[in-house]
Symmetry: C2
Subunit: 315 residues, 2 copies
Amino acid sequence: MNIGIDIGGTNIGAGLLDDNLDFIYKTEFPTENEKGYEFVEAKIINIIEEMILIAEKNGENIESLGIGIPGIADNSGDNIVFCPNLHWRNKPMGINLRKRFAIDINIENDATLAGIAENVLGVSRGYDNSVFITLGTGVGAGIIIDGKMYKGAHGVASELGHLIVGENFYDCNCGKNGCLETFASSTAIEKYMLREIDKGRYETKLFNRINKIEEVNAEHIFQCAAEGDELCNKAIDRMVKYLTIGITNIINILDPGIIVLGGGVSKAGSFLIDRIENLIPNYILFDDMEYADIRLAKLGNDAGIIGAAMLNQYK
Amino acid sequence: MNIGIDIGGTNIGAGLLDDNLDFIYKTEFPTENEKGYEFVEAKIINIIEEMILIAEKNGENIESLGIGIPGIADNSGDNIVFCPNLHWRNKPMGINLRKRFAIDINIENDATLAGIAENVLGVSRGYDNSVFITLGTGVGAGIIIDGKMYKGAHGVASELGHLIVGENFYDCNCGKNGCLETFASSTAIEKYMLREIDKGRYETKLFNRINKIEEVNAEHIFQCAAEGDELCNKAIDRMVKYLTIGITNIINILDPGIIVLGGGVSKAGSFLIDRIENLIPNYILFDDMEYADIRLAKLGNDAGIIGAAMLNQYK
């Protein structure tokens, strides 16, 4: 059996999976990162101990523990190098967990784990080369080449959220201007809509759904766009334009067999995918040649846990 | 022995190489593409026959023939799919040559071949993952992953010249706006300079070097910039800015060990490399982590022929 843990900014998901990658046990609890790194690490240690007990009750051993983080770890898996949204720098999670648990422990970027999970069990199964893009409050990605996680020479590959794809009216958290994340995340859609409303563009159905400006969110904007609201469609069209530039940049560099879209924004489903597919021919180089399929992720929130649980096999 | 042929828009280079990849024979002749594809193919057949005779005189057989093209061939190497600058579409070069010569024949993109040559014999030797970028009248590239040419799922990978990295005042030949090629090729530098001059900015030392406006070229612009000319430095700074955005986009996706710059524009040498290296920290995501070395290509014009001659081993 293997344990997978997926550390997010809001919640931590954890699961115990058997050798067929079926869940034996699954749980979720708040990260409470505001209480400090040590507090979060202690919670993770507790849940690991709990799952080891469950495995023992089933007469099974734990072969490996995989941990997904919203950032990067060093190649040894000893230290978390940087998780921007958790404000973690140089945290010795691997060192500390290995002191306590005599099992194979690995740490990997969460989007990379979701990418390998989709490649083994999900929508990109059967493709040698795939790119998984998670569109949430930020934009992350995982690259699979020849069925393996692609990590690059220094462990900083697949940061597709920080591809520069244009010029934007606000800077990215990373300090740069024009990052894909500032066009294609839920945050980006919301910021653009708030700016448009601030310009005095109140003729939107959005206000039938919300009571105050603070309630503007990407989900409402997508819903109103689907109902034909002009301003919301303008916001979505802009998001789709730059996401398509990002996707075609990836096609022009990596030419994967499939590009998988996951994360909260991807819940817009075919409404989003259809627009991207319609726009790709405008940006693709060889429009008479085959290029990557664009598909929605299949495993949902579990992808990170599943990817973490299989990490020792695919690292 | 192996034959390598590098088909360019202006010239065709051809070489006979021994098993140590040393040149036994090397020649260059004009492409004369205006006389039609069949004419060019006949010239290539002639030079192949000539080199087979040279090998025979040395008591050696030809093991393989590799051909580099400024475009893409299908995976079988039967047909050239598209060479934009030669206006070739669906030319059966592989089929025709295989009818005539009973040797292993392969066709590959010229920048990819230069990339593998640099990886085996040149500046990127010893690196598992490298990206070769050729900055000439256009911008091409070759990606090496795990020591092998990376070709993608449909053979359309590594088209870095068509990464969209901003918005430009003119459209690319491919029909899109903002392609790296329209910022970082010699053509791009020249077009920008001519536009600035056209705006009435005559206060440049460029006119000490040339007699008429048609003589403006990237080499002169680099030379005047190195001498401190303000307008020429403005043109080079703009080129370096967008080239650095392209390079950091590649780092953020692929995180190669090294990025190699070749082609005519790279003859600007350390004047160019130093500016890029100074600017990279402004665009890189993890500026406290190691990232790709940026180096000049070593093999010069021969890289394409050498890569073609080793194609059967590295395809």
